[in-house]
Symmetry: C2
Subunit: 140 residues, 2 copies
Amino acid sequence: MKDPLVNLAGYVLRRASAVALAELNQRLAPLNLRHADVAMLMLIESVPGITQSHAGRVLDIQRANMAPFVARLEARGVIERRQVDRRSQALDLTRRGRALLSRARRVVAAHEATLLKRVPVKLRPMVLPILMALWNRDAA
Amino acid sequence: MKDPLVNLAGYVLRRASAVALAELNQRLAPLNLRHADVAMLMLIESVPGITQSHAGRVLDIQRANMAPFVARLEARGVIERRQVDRRSQALDLTRRGRALLSRARRVVAAHEATLLKRVPVKLRPMVLPILMALWNRDAA
DNA sequence: TATTGTTATACTCTATAACTATA
DNA sequence: TATAGTTATAGAGTATAACAATA
């Protein structure tokens, strides 16, 4: 069939993202995690003690949505909060959080490998540079 | 800051897609259209008389969600439905639909140009091949 | 004054189940 | 039996507004 949409980078970008996201969430389901959970755990591991508001800005999650999101991870015992001053919350992984993340990281690595394997070898080195360039919202 | 997520194609894919989608929807707002509306109009234009169910499969929109979606476009007078047999609906653009689509197409073209301009010239020819490859859900 | 965190709320998008009617 | 369309409904994800407390 003549599909006029496959020539539109924006459309294909959206479809590719939706498929990849669904696949990752399926892979993470046995760990009872969603993709956003893993992103948060990875960020906290990389920047221990990052404040809740800062993490929200990095992950592009709004303050109002961070509150229940972080509360859920804390209730589950994978992160803990610490008062930095009397309004900021520093986030850290708990022992359980680190253990869960190390399992999640293997799932993510497998997912990444699956994604890249879809791309012809010659094009693979350009995947991340192109995606990073497309992501750059400040450009033009 | 050390951001562990920017090395993950899946993550950057999601962020790039989210930004592009938001920008496109903003551009389409003056036409009172959403990105999915334009995809549907483009598909119908390209395959006049496509059935509702077939369109749903191409666009990856579920039957249950197609009903109100198509009804809204029909109520707006941009598409029309025609009985193909006593259960299938063929979809076609109305005159108004074609006029609206021609305006939307210019918006989409501008959006596409904006996206591609973010990518270094040398990499631009690889954008669509890479995105198409990533989209291929049947692979591996 | 601007920022952090919170609650409440609403809207979009997506997913599932159940149903009727028809091929 | 499988398919087309519909309705109802529930769940994510995301967005705004308003508020208290603090920097």
